[in-house]
């Protein structure tokens, strides 16, 4: 074991030693920005130049020992550390979701809000009485499912269904509402996301009405890959047809055209984007408009 520098306390679970440890860390970190980061709880370890080793902060040791879930959800990741810790303490919990899991149904109480991690994809569908449904929004690790709760509404107007399985952090609606009431930072984050999601939904409505299937398919694949942060994607023609509100044959023709142009490769439900820039050029303006809005909130 590499020795620590003189005066550096040993790492133990005793509060007194941890206090000494904190003082030792502050001696090493002398510039204002580093001290500020330590005060905000945004530091994991400190480098000891005498022993030439990295020393974990007590909080980091505890988090690594407990296997604390770290958000890859972008809304949670952009929160200050203390806000995220507050949500964890208020009941944010990890959950694994499978393809087809129904998170919310129209008119039903929203029990939980979901913050997808990278890899999870959730479709927001508007349904009709004849059981037809059309996708109006797509949520991945950039956003969350259950937005009405943040606006003080406890029921969903859409069906939220898992399209790409993965992990999420979820929270009971009542607990989330309490956490939101006392946090201006959290409120601002959700106001920005509300604006972006409404923009996505309205742009999708226009796109579905005016644009060709091929452009709409390209738009959907680009949005899905942005949110999944993966390539290839796994979707059947039938699933895509349902999401885009077109006949299956329409998706088959559009996918074939994109494949002939060497923009995508399609095989047994695996869709691989070969030429992202080319796919952007083949889609309508809607993809870029939606992306720009999410990028700027």
């Amino acid at each position: 074991m590499t020795p620590m520098s003189p005066g550096s306390p040993a790492e133990t679970d005793h509060p007194e030693t941890d206090a000494l440890f904190a003082a030792f860390i502050r001696r090493l970190a002398q510039d204002a920005s580093t001290l500020r980061a330590i005060d905000l709880g945004e530091v994991d370890a400190i480098l000891d130049p005498v022993s030439s080793r990295a020393i974990l902060l007590p909080e980091t040791r505890e988090a690594l020992r407990q296997g604390v879930v770290v958000p890859t959800n972008q809304m949670l990741a952009t929160l200050p550390a203390e806000e995220y810790q507050r949500l964890l303490a208020a009941g944010l919990e990890p959950v694994t979701l499978a393809f087809g899991d129904l998170l919310h149904e129209p008119g039903e109480l929203i029990q939980h809000l979901y913050f997808p991690s990278a890899g999870l994809l959730v479709s927001l569908l508007t349904t009709l009485q004849d059981h037809r449904a059309l996708e109006v929004g797509l949520v991945g690790c950039e956003g969350m499912v259950g937005l009405p709760v943040a606006q003080g509404i406890d029921t969903s107007s859409v069906r939220a269904v898992v399209q790409g399985p993965g992990q999420a952090l979820r929270m009971e609606s009542s607990r989330f509402r309490n956490a939101l009431e006392i946090s201006p930072v959290l409120q601002r984050t959700f106001h920005h996301y509300t604006y972006a999601l409404i923009a996505q939904i309205t742009q999708t409505a226009v796109c579905n009405r005016f644009h060709q299937v091929e452009a709409r398919l390209a738009r959907w694949l680009l949005l899905a890959s942005d949110r999944l942060q993966s390539n290839p994607l796994r979707f059947t023609h039938e699933a895509l047809a349902d999401l885009l509100g077109v006949r299956r044959v329409g998706i088959t023709v559009a996918a074939s055209t994109l494949q002939q142009q060497k923009l995508i490769q399609y095989s047994r439900g695996n869709i691989k984007i070969l030429d992202r820039e080319g796919l952007k050029a083949s889609t309508c303006e809607c993809y870029q408009k939606i992306k720009d809005i999410f990028d700027h909130v």
Binding site: A29, A37, L47, L64, T78, H296
Partner: protein, 108 residues
């Protein structure tokens, strides 16, 4: 953990403009994971040109961190274009990161 990610330039003559960054982390630690997620988001949204991001775990390579003047993790170092700049913390403030990267900030 030591991995490197390069977004290749379309034009080989543009290689001089490649933005090179190094992120010092502790693998799996909360702030380090958040820093990486935040940095990836910022790069995706604001970096138009090619860039190279190297991720270094200080538990495995503490001497590299010390040689780069790193005192705490997470720390992001922009190596090129010059001047070399550094941001510490979990990079939850996009404005601060954009400033260090020498990019115009338009985040809220």
């Amino acid at each position: 953990m030591h991995r490197q990610r390069t977004v290749k330039p379309a034009d080989p003559t543009a290689i001089a403009a490649v933005r090179m960054m190094r992120l010092y982390v502790v693998g799996g630690a909360p702030n380090s994971v958040q820093a990486l997620a935040n940095l990836e988001r910022i790069c995706q949204q604001h970096l138009q040109g090619p860039y190279q991001l190297e991720i270094v775990d200080v538990l495995e390579q503490p001497l590299r961190a010390l040689a780069d003047g790193v005192i705490v993790t997470p720390s992001l170092i922009k190596q090129s274009p010059l001047p070399v700049t550094q941001v510490v913390g979990n990079l939850s403030d996009p404005g601060q990161v954009l400033l260090a990267l020498g990019l115009p900030g338009n985040s809220p």
